[in-house]
């Protein structure tokens, strides 16, 4: 295979910004192909967190001292920076500890609206027994289990849009699954197993035609594509900082202004109130209404550094670069004996640099272990999408996923090494 493919950015130069990428694994250079699980962090992100803790650390939105004022300013600047990265004004971005927390916030807030919390302003979000919540068969457990729980608490019915053999969502079925009783449609922008960019516009049209709320899991799109959440037309969306070069414990919940206004709080306590008596409390408007307690301030500031890094590289360039990696990855996998891609489909389906596959006769864990012995890090298991694996007749698969810092050589080395796996385990020819 040639190793001189030109891409939209110089990944080899970018790698110097990521200290971990120069470490060795068992004496071999690390080939990190597990960015869909968590991304590596550039020096700028690590430094931003250290710099804040070294120079400005103080509790935000309280206190009259200099550090408190500087910390508050940096914290709110970070919100504006991260909000702008997804095309939103700062007041429409709620800090969460990650996408799972964001989705649970929404599900529990809707549950609260259902039992009358939030008053008349929230009543349009209330669910009645027999109302329907629609997800897809490909969802990550984080965008499935909170809805199962909400359905169980409210008497709503959970339905799903099926996935076709080629991995795409069955939009014909979606048109009948989404109906007059549908109140919520929750789906991933990009599947964390298939890498397919879902047809957001079509799903939003179907949902809004019946007055349903749309909730987007943007975890696997935010690090890889230019993202403009308001332009996508969704009502709510979540993403995780650690998957987009940022730290752990920070993420975002975006919401349309009128939807956030109508949502009652989930977590309650300090920092989210206007007036408290021993009997009752009035709440701040969004986003503070959803930010009870001390916030992950240094993580928010470091996430802002992460999106500034991504902006400097340019998300169009990131997307183009990863497109090249994705095609090479997928085409290479198709040529290896015994490898079956999950949800493979003809060219023309938009994907990010990610592929999950099964190796005939060798369990995913064993494949992962073999690759690890050559310094190659991939994910094995069901990737928190057990129903999707069941749909393809599997309990586990191997997933290779790229980020902006991966090179064509990374993909080629992975493919060459994978081609030896069945031989090592004495399977096949």
């Amino acid at each position: 295979m040639s190793s001189s493919t030109e891409t939209a950015l110089d990944a080899r130069a970018l790698r110097a910004d990521f200290p971990i990428l120069s470490r060795l694994v068992d004496g071999r250079p690390l080939v990190y192909l597990d960015s869909a699980a968590t991304s590596q962090k550039p020096r700028a992100v690590i430094d931003a967190e250290v710099a804040f803790l070294t120079n400005e650390n103080a509790a935000v939105h309280r206190g009259a001292h200099t550090l408190a004022a500087e910390a508050t300013e940096l914290f709110e600047d970070a919100r504006a920076t991260v909000a702008a990265f997804v095309g939103a004004p700062p007041e429409q971005l709620v800090w969460t500890s990650g996408a799972t927390a964001g989705l649970n916030l929404v599900a529990y807030a809707i549950g609260n609206a259902t039992v009358g919390r939030g008053g008349p302003a929230s009543s349009r979000l209330a669910l009645a027994a027999g109302d329907e919540i629609v997800v897809t068969e490909a969802e990550h457990h984080a965008n499935l289990v909170p809805w199962q729980e909400l359905a169980a608490r409210t008497g709503a019915v959970l339905r799903h849009i099926p996935v076709r053999d080629d991995g795409t969502l069955d939009l014909d079925a979606a048109a009948s699954v989404i109906g007059p009783r549908t109140r919520i449609v929750a789906f991933a922008h990009v599947s964390n197993v298939l890498g397919i960019v879902n047809p957001v516009a079509e799903l939003v049209v179907l949902a809004h035609a019946v007055g349903a709320l749309t909730v987007l899991d943007a975890c696997q799109s935010a690090p890889h594509l230019p993202l403009n959440l308001p332009a996508l037309g969704v009502d709510l969306a979540v993403f995780s900082g650690h998957k987009m070069l940022g730290p752990y414990g920070i993420g975002g919940l975006y919401g349309r202004a009128d939807v956030l206004d109508a949502l009652p709080p989930f977590l309650t306590g300090g920092s989210m109130i206007t007036r408290v008596t021993l009997d009752r409390t009035e709440y701040l408007p969004p986003p503070q209404r959803f930010e009870a307690g001390t916030q992950p301030v240094s993580q928010a500031i470091a996430l802002a550094a992460a999106v500034r890094y991504l902006d400097t590289v340019g998300m169009d360039a990131v997307h183009e670069h990863e497109r090249v990696l994705e095609r090479r990855l997928r085409e290479g996998l198709r040529t290896i004996d015994g490898v079956r891609l999950l949800g493979d489909s003809p060219a023309g389906i938009e994907r990010v640099g990610l592929a999950a596959f099964d190796v005939d006769g060798v369990h995913a864990h064993d494949v992962g272990q073999y690759l690890d012995s050559r310094g190659i890090a991939v994910r094995v298991g069901h990737h928190c999408a057990a129903p999707l694996h069941a749909r393809f007749g599997l309990t586990a698969s191997v997933r290779a996923s790229t980020a902006l810092y991966n090179t064509v050589e990374d993909v080629d080395l992975f493919l060459e090494t994978l081609a030896d796996v069945r031989g090592f385990f004495g399977v096949g020819a």
């Binding site: 068992d26 864990h365 064993d366 309990t395 090592f424």
Partner: protein, 156 residues
């Protein structure tokens, strides 16, 4: 031996390809008046599953261990080696001996390579010694043994 070869010893690959004790024995076997216990275990990280059945005689001695399931070569080989260990005891394996074996096996696997698995006591399962250096794989090797532990409780 490289790290990988010490983990995937030939014996492990052999057991995983031609497993012993695979296929559950019938639960009700009135003729032998056996006491049975069945356990279903799952590794939530990878979705691997095993159903293991232990059959004991009137004296509380284990007569056989059978199992069914799907998983990685380590988990399949480990279940097979466990079945052989019981199979090779002509007079069966007393319950207390099995419990002690399970405890010792667990201790060795959690030792991060400091406690070897003794061949004299564990037979082919000695080949799983290398697993203890791979913390992510300890659960794979333990799956069948945890299932036996649970099945014995259920058989009481």
């Amino acid at each position: 031996m490289s790290g990988l070869e010490s983990l995937y010893q030939e014996l492990i690959l052999e057991h995983s390809k031609r497993p012993h004790g695979k296929g559950l024995a019938p639960e009700d076997d009135a003729a032998d008046s056996l006491l049975t216990g069945t356990s279903h275990q799952r590794n939530p990280i990878c979705g691997d599953e095993i159903t293991l059945r232990v059959r004991l005689d009137d004296a509380g001695v284990i007569r056989d261990v059978t199992w069914d399931g799907a998983g990685c070569s380590i988990s399949q080989a480990s279940a097979s080696m466990l079945a052989v260990l019981v199979e090779e005891k002509d007079d069966g394996m007393p319950r207390a001996e099995a419990s002690a074996l399970i405890d010792g096996f667990r201790e060795a696997l959690r030792s991060r390579g400091t406690i070897p698995i003794d061949e004299e006591t564990y037979g082919d399962a000695e080949a799983l010694s290398g697993v203890s250096k791979y913390t992510a794989r300890v659960k794979c090797a333990m799956l069948a043994w945890v299932a036996l532990e649970d099945a014995l409780l259920r058989a009481s």
